[in-house]
Amino acid sequence: MKVRYREKIKEYNDKLPTLEVILKDFGLNPLGVLVVDRKTGALFPPGQPMRSDLELELRAVISGG
């Protein structure tokens, strides 16, 4: 995972990936997580590229029901 992460970081530096791309790359199902901006509490909008100043929280939405 660490090797893959490093490789991805290199790739990301050139093209500023969106969160959707990152979730996919790390095998996370976007249906199971909600991405919240920790500073503002707002939802992180789709299609926006990641920025180094962002503090995002991946909140699992699956519950026992």
Partner: protein, 312 residues
């Protein structure tokens, strides 16, 4: 910066992507979307009307608190009901969030406590009678919810089961061919006699992620933490499997559930017809297929084992 516009109003910036509907929505259009899905569920299944008194079972989680908020916004008369399960800090936080929600909106919240009524928390009750905690918890929740609705004169009991919960339950029941459960799986369970209140699931057409996004956008604090008793539960695995399917084939969950409810459920009616008739519990009056209801039997078992919550 790449700004994705809302697919409905085509003006505001989208803040959520609903993968299963191929929709990017702005806060206003997303709010309309959720409200319309709840209204659709209530009307489609004729769950209740504006004159009915609804008792909403709230756990402190996103679905139940979101449901309470949505029903009030839609103009329904809705009180809340919460059970303190006695699971340490998890239950304390759940109860605090429910009370806070009710107090801020000046709503009526009925709270029952498993430790107060049974002398033990859910984990200890389950251990005493050698049953799985989730099985005891489900049974006690059904019993206490129904008892409170009867005592408070409510017409209908509403729970926060969402589309994902129902599709998951259906998936599990089909995998194990639980015909009696399949026969009873429906978003409306009718009132039986004077002892069993009608039960409804108004979030039947709203997905889990949509509910999480709804309460986040509305600023409703909810408990993110999963119930510590549910670790390793098969339902969580089933949910993940269904989400994988949904990602590759959009609309799978809704199609699976809708076709079952509209067309396939009647196949299992025979299993329902073969169920023993319901009659009032000889002790508490709750409708049951045995002489004594499951909650009263539990009290007796606890008494046999000398547990504090047993009937003396």
């Amino acid at each position: 910066m790449n700004i994705v516009k809302c697919k409905v109003c085509k003006q505001a910036e989208a803040i959520i992507k609903l993968e299963n509907y191929r929709l990017n929505l702005c806060p206003g259009c997303f709010d309309d979307f959720v409200v319309r899905r709840v209204e659709k569920g209530i009307r489609h299944f004729r769950m209740f009307g504006h004159r009915d008194r609804v008792l909403v079972a709230v756990s402190g989680g996103k679905d139940s608190l979101g449901l309470w908020d949505l029903l009030l916004r839609l103009g329904y008369r809705a009180d809340g009901f919460h059970i303190d399960l006695g699971i340490g800090s998890y239950s304390q936080e759940s109860t605090r969030l429910c009370r806070e929600f009710a107090e801020q909106r000046k709503l009526k919240l009925y709270v029952r406590s498993v430790p107060e009524e049974f002398g033990l928390g859910i984990r200890e009750v389950a251990r005493s009678v050698r049953r799985a905690p989730c099985s005891i918890c489900g049974m006690l929740k059904r019993h206490l919810m129904n008892r409170t609705a009867l005592d408070q004169g409510c017409d209908v009991l509403a729970t926060g089961h969402n589309l994902d919960d129902e599709a998951t339950s259906l998936f599990g029941n089909v995998l194990h061919w639980q015909e009696d459960y399949l026969a009873r799986q429906f978003p409306v369970l009718p009132q039986v006699g004077a002892g069993l209140k009608r039960k409804v699931k108004p979030l039947i057409f709203v997905g889990e992620k949509e509910m999480a996004a709804y309460v986040t956008l509305k600023g409703i604090p909810y408990i993110y933490e999963e119930c510590p008793m549910s670790k390793g539960a098969m339902s969580l695995h089933y949910k993940e499997i269904l989400n994988q399917l949904e990602l590759h084939s959009r609309g799978t969950k809704l199609f699976f559930l809708k076709i079952f409810l509209d067309e396939q459920r009647q196949r299992f009616q025979k299993a329902e017809d073969q169920q023993p008739a319901l009659a009032p519990c000889t002790t508490c009056g709750t409708m049951t297929t045995a002489g004594l209801c499951a909650a009263c039997r539990l009290r007796e078992k606890l008494a046999e084992r000398g547990a504090p919550g047993g009937r003396s």
